[in-house]
């Protein structure tokens, strides 16, 4: 029997009992719609939760610090002592230029950015105001590599320019402020020239200061993280200022960098990258570890939600089995006739299994459409509610309430068809194995 002839025959047979098929399919519609809505809701909640985490920190980012080797007393895994790995200094596995090459060779690593603290001082002057900040030299010309949101200006760093975190203007104060006077408003520093005061001490304890003028070319938006209180400058600027402070040149192969910021290609590979860096003898951290535990919670939630929907489908499956059993009883003589004119057991099995799968498909299709529409209605209601909350100052605007990824409708329809096939299996086998002579004589 040709496949399309089989499909046509199945459609005709289903069309013969439209009312019964429709009623049976309603059960599948409800089950599939429940699966689609509940899984969409679970995915929506997960997306909403993780998107807020993304706001705090980029989940593709890994912070790498020098590692303690075994002689240093800390067990940090395998220590690369030679053969192209990092250098060691007093029991430390240093982050050297060679380490950059080694880490970049790990699959899934997009970029390795060396960063260094500026220990030559952290005082800033703007007009009569003074302020303090952590100054960080970064080994990139464009801070966009860090994925920090920008409030204004540019992310491109040139010599003697800086990009500041959102909280830096609040750190400025008037040192000559008298008691009772109002403190000055935080200055708008974008495009302004700020004096960076470097200092070092002579052997007899005298402080020597040096003023460097830097132009603030960009202000970052709030990240609720380290970036808010940091002034970013180019690494070569920071190195030059540190060398001035120390009076000698810095050899990165011997002294290493303070830390690396490693960007992974996507969030899926971050944990692997962290494991491999740790195995090289360095200390790598990522917020992804925290996020993965949140993700596993939401996966469990989705399974529970999906399970609730699946129970509805189980009820629908019983309905399909019942309908098919009734149908086979009514059509026993028809089965006998088909066998008399040459249908094999496999032909009969295919026809009845196909009819059960057809009911599953019709119900799955309807359920998916209704489930998707239900998700959209949920989103509209949730958006209206959240907007109302935000307007009254009672809450933040969240993400969507339900998210239906393209795989979910496809999965739901395939699942519904499988439910149909499974529930039709027993009746179809009964039909296929009917003795033709008994079937023909059935009253």
């Amino acid at each position: 029997m040709h496949f399309w002839d089989l499909v046509k025959l199945i459609m005709e047979n289903l069309g013969r009992r439209k009312g019964r098929v429709a009623l049976t399919a309603v059960g599948v519609v409800i089950g599939t719609a429940a699966v689609v809505v509940l899984v969409s809701l679970g995915l929506g909640l997960q997306k909403s939760a993780t998107s807020q985490l993304y706001g705090i920190s980029d989940l593709t980012r890994v912070e790498v610090y020098p590692g303690m080797n075994d002689s240093g007393g800390m067990a940090v895994g395998k220590v690369v002592m030679n053969g192209g790995g990092g250098g060691t200094d007093q029991g430390m596995n240093l982050l050297t230029p060679q380490t950059i090459t080694d880490i970049q060779a790990i699959p899934g690593v997009k970029a390795v950015i060396p960063v260094d603290y500026m220990w030559a001082g952290g005082m800033l002057k703007y007009g009569k105001l003074e302020g303090w900040a952590q100054i960080l030299g970064v080994g990139v010309e464009d801070l966009a590599a860090f994925n920090y949101p920008l409030q204004g200006g540019t992310t491109v760093l040139e010599r003697n320019t800086a990009i500041i975190g959102s909280w830096i203007p609040n750190n400025f104060y008037d040192p000559k402020l008298r008691p009772g006077q109002d403190p000055p408003a935080p200055p708008d520093l974008l495009g302004q020239r700020v004096i960076l005061v470097l200092s070092k001490y002579t052997s007899d304890g005298q402080e020597i200061r040096k003023n460097i003028t830097v132009t603030i070319v960009g202000v970052l938006a709030e990240t609720r993280g380290e970036a808010d209180g940091t002034v970013y400058v180019r690494l070569d600027d920071a190195t030059a200022w540190n060398e001035w402070s120390r009076g000698t040149r810095i050899n990165r192969y011997r002294e290493g960098y303070s830390r690396f910021i490693v960007q992974a290609e996507d969030t899926d590979v971050v944990l692997d990258v962290v494991d491999q860096i740790n195995a090289m003898g360095y200390m790598a951290y990522t917020p992804q570890e925290y996020v993965s535990s949140i993700n596993s919670f939401f996966t469990t939630l989705q399974i529970i939600f999906g399970g609730i929907g699946a129970i509805s489908l189980l009820v629908a499956a019983i309905g399909i089995a019942n309908t098919m059993t009734m149908s086979i009883l009514e059509r026993t003589r028809e089965i006998g006739l088909m066998k008399a004119i040459g249908a094999t057991n496999k032909d009969v099995l295919s026809i009845f299994l196909g009819e059960a799968a057809g009911i599953g498909f019709i119900g799955g299709l309807g359920g998916t459409v209704i489930g998707w529409l239900g998700g959209q209605v949920l989103n509209v209601v949730a958006s209206a509610y959240l907007a109302q909350q935000a307007a009254s100052g009672g809450g933040m605007m969240g993400g969507l309430a339900a998210v239906t990824p393209p795989w979910l409708p496809l999965f739901a329809i395939i699942f519904a068809v499988l439910v149909g096939l499974l529930s039709g299996l027993y009746p179809a086998l009964r039909a296929a194995n009917l003795e033709p002579v008994i079937a023909l004589k059935y009253e």
Partner: protein, 248 residues
């Protein structure tokens, strides 16, 4: 041309188990049916004639004995081989027509070809040719419920011929028809016989004997002579008549 019969039945026995009781439907019969014959099997209800027909058609399996059709032993065939045998070698005609009510006449006639993987165009062409043969081409697009009993049986005969089988098996083909329609069907079966097919008809209807080349009489699962059958038939008639027409 060989002298080997188309059908050779040896010691064919069929026993049905009904609860704890065993009912012997066929008590070990031997029959040879030549190719190209028109065989009528006569017998009262319960004589085993329909059982014999279903066994010949591969719709049932014997308890013991042997059925050779065209030198093929069908009792040893597996389910798939039997299905193929029924599809290619046998054309069944039933008392109650067994047309599918959801399909029009054309599609009912072409239905066996679905299982042979024949294309729709070829199915329709072959079905229409056969409907023309049985004088039903003008009813091709009517559903079975729109046809008379005689017309339905003509369509069923066309369906039995669609795979061009060598053997036609008919189970009480005129049982549900009025006299005129029944005679028409008998004539049609006779035409099939004259065209070279082997026809076996199980019937109560003695008019069918006018068309037959061979007649078999069955009583209680045994083959009997015509005289024995007639004696039994008249005895049955005597026993049942007073009850059917009680005198005042």
């Amino acid at each position: 041309m060989t002298n080997i019969p188309l059908i050779q039945i040896q010691q064919l026995r069929k026993v049905f188990t009904m609860g704890k009781q065993k009912v012997i439907a066929l008590a070990g019969i031997d029959i040879d049916i030549p190719a190209g014959s028109f065989t009528v099997i006569m017998g009262p209800s319960g004589s085993g004639k329909s059982t014999l027909l279903y066994l010949l058609g591969g719709l049932d399996r014997p308890t013991s004995g042997r059925i050779m059709i065209n030198q093929q032993s069908i009792e040893s065939m597996d389910e798939n081989a039997l299905a193929q045998f029924r599809r290619n070698s046998i054309g069944f005609i039933f008392q109650s027509f067994n047309l599918l009510p959801s399909m029009d006449t054309l599609r009912n006639v072409g239905f066996p070809l679905w299982f042979s993987g024949i294309s729709k165009a070829q199915r329709d062409k072959r079905a229409l040719d056969l409907l023309r043969t049985v004088g039903m081409d003008n009813r091709a697009l009517h559903k079975p419920t729109e046809l008379s009993g005689g017309q339905q049986q003509r369509a069923a005969i066309a369906r039995a011929l669609v795979n061009n089988p060598a053997l036609i098996l008919a189970d009480e083909p005129t049982g549900n028809l009025d006299t005129t329609s029944g005679l028409g069907i008998m004539q049609l079966l006779s035409d099939l016989h004259r065209s070279g097919r082997t026809v076996i008809v199980v019937t109560h209807d003695p008019r069918m004997l006018h068309f037959s080349t061979h007649t078999l009489y069955l009583l209680d699962g045994r083959l009997v002579s015509e005289a024995e059958y007639n004696a039994a038939a008249s005895m049955i008639a005597q026993v049942t008549q007073p009850e059917e027409n009680p005198t005042p």
